[in-house]
């Protein structure tokens, strides 16, 4: 039985207790998602309130609730490949307004984490490059280093000239330092990245 059939079956029963579809089919994807977020995607009843207030809805290919729907129906790759997952700005407007208390922002976090783990190819390469460059600075220096982050990002995306006109002004106002400020106990931060690798 695939997740869609399963959803239809339990969906018609009308018993919300029974609507925990992971308990019925023990799907490893859903199990992992629940382990990360502590919530079952079946909880969402597709009212669309989240998407109505989502600031990036107009830029993304799928409405956020549609990504949840893909997962409910078992179209996991479709969910992970949707650029909505990476365009989500993490503003949590959706989570705050959901009548079912579904923390959609956290669901989106998990989609990014699970997509990366599965080496899903996304169109949002720039966003991925930004996050990687940002985290690398923390791993190497213990703190974010804006100059190093932008440099790494530019090399990753080959978007070399964007915003370079801002650099002289920021340097002269002391807002940008060429060298990173490293913390004393760098190793204590480096080891936290073990989980991610």
């Amino acid at each position: 039985m695939y997740a869609g059939e399963c959803y239809k079956q339990i969906g018609t029963s009308g018993n919300t207790e029974e609507m925990k579809m992971h308990e019925v089919h023990k799907d490893p994807f859903i199990e992992e998602l629940i382990a990360i977020t502590g919530q079952d995607p079946a909880q969402c009843y597709q009212c669309g309130k989240c998407s109505a207030g989502c600031p990036v809805r107009e830029f993304a290919e799928d409405a956020p609730n549609r990504v949840v729907r893909y997962v409910q129906l078992g179209f996991y790759d479709k969910a992970l490949q949707s650029n909505t997952v990476w365009l989500c700005a993490g503003c949590q407007t959706c989570s705050g307004r959901c009548p079912k208390d579904f923390h959609l922002a956290q669901f989106m976090d998990a989609m990014r984490e699970m997509g990366t783990k599965r080496h899903i190819v996304t169109k949002e390469k720039k966003t991925v490059a930004f996050h990687e460059s940002f985290l690398d600075q923390i791993k190497w220096n213990g703190r974010s280093h804006e100059f190093g982050m932008v440099l790494e990002y530019k090399l990753k995306t080959m978007d070399l000239f964007k915003d370079v006109d801002l650099v002289p002004g920021m340097l002269s106002r002391g807002k940008l330092s060429i060298l990173p400020e490293k913390i004393k106990d760098g190793n204590s931060v480096k080891k936290l990245f073990k989980e991610k690798e």
Binding site: G38, L87, D109, F134, R143, K162, D163, I183, V189
Partner: protein, 225 residues
């Protein structure tokens, strides 16, 4: 009053003037800040996009350092840092699996006892009447529009210091300077900040959206935290 201080990376770099003006203000209010020694980055929006345990372990390291250094309250002026620290504290106190995972990564047991304050909370904590007494110049010539954005007020069950859709705590702070904050519809709307490097156009659009409504009500400044 002596408080722990978590400046966060931005206040040492591109938001340097925020750090300077905050320190000058608090000095005038006789509030001492002790910076957490050897603090590290909170991971901001990148860590929680990468790994749920990393996203909690990075702020948790700072919470543990603050505790070790004898602090019980820390001020985090950057909204993203405040949010990550508050979410982490909440998760570690309420989610045992997450707490165990983080303790394994940090190789240290976690114990709570830390209050995390954003700036709006800090000013209320100091006491608005106390601040009012020290104000030297009335600012009635300003018509500020208070901007909270996302991370001061959401998720409401964790930040919880004000209404998530229509907060007024910042207005109360600015109004002690003799000005009247104007009412507007965009105070908790997202500016898209996490995309400022990769999708400048989105950020431009989301931020520009807020300016015409601000201007048409003859607002002369937008204050945020």
């Amino acid at each position: 009053m002596n408080l722990g201080y978590y400046p966060g990376c931005s206040l040492e770099g591109s938001a340097k003037e925020f750090n300077q003006s905050l320190k000058a203000t608090l000095q005038a209010l006789e509030v001492q800040l002790s910076e957490i020694d050897d603090w590290s980055c909170c991971g901001a929006s990148s860590a929680h996009s990468a790994n749920h345990l990393l996203a909690l372990a990075l702020p948790a390291r700072n919470l543990l350092l603050a505790k070790k250094q004898g602090m019980s309250e820390i001020v985090a002026p950057c909204a993203a840092c405040y949010n990550r620290l508050a979410v982490t504290r909440h998760e570690l106190n309420n989610n045992e699996t997450a707490r165990k995972g983080v303790e394994d990564l940090l190789e240290t047991p976690y114990s709570d006892g830390m209050q995390i304050l954003n700036l709006v909370q800090l000013f209320h904590h100091i006491g608005l009447p106390v601040i009012k007494e020290k104000i030297k110049r009335q600012m009635s010539f300003l018509k500020p529009a208070c901007y909270y954005g996302c991370l001061l007020v959401r998720p409401n069950n964790i930040t919880g210091f004000d209404d998530a859709e229509h907060p007024t705590a910042m207005e109360q702070v600015v109004e002690i300077t003799g000005t009247k904050a104007v009412d507007w519809n965009f105070k908790v709307e997202c500016c898209g900040a996490s995309h400022s490097i990769a999708h400048t156009k989105i950020v431009e659009k989301l931020s520009k959206n807020k300016l015409p409504p601000a201007r048409c009500a003859t607002r002369t400044s937008i204050c945020g935290s």
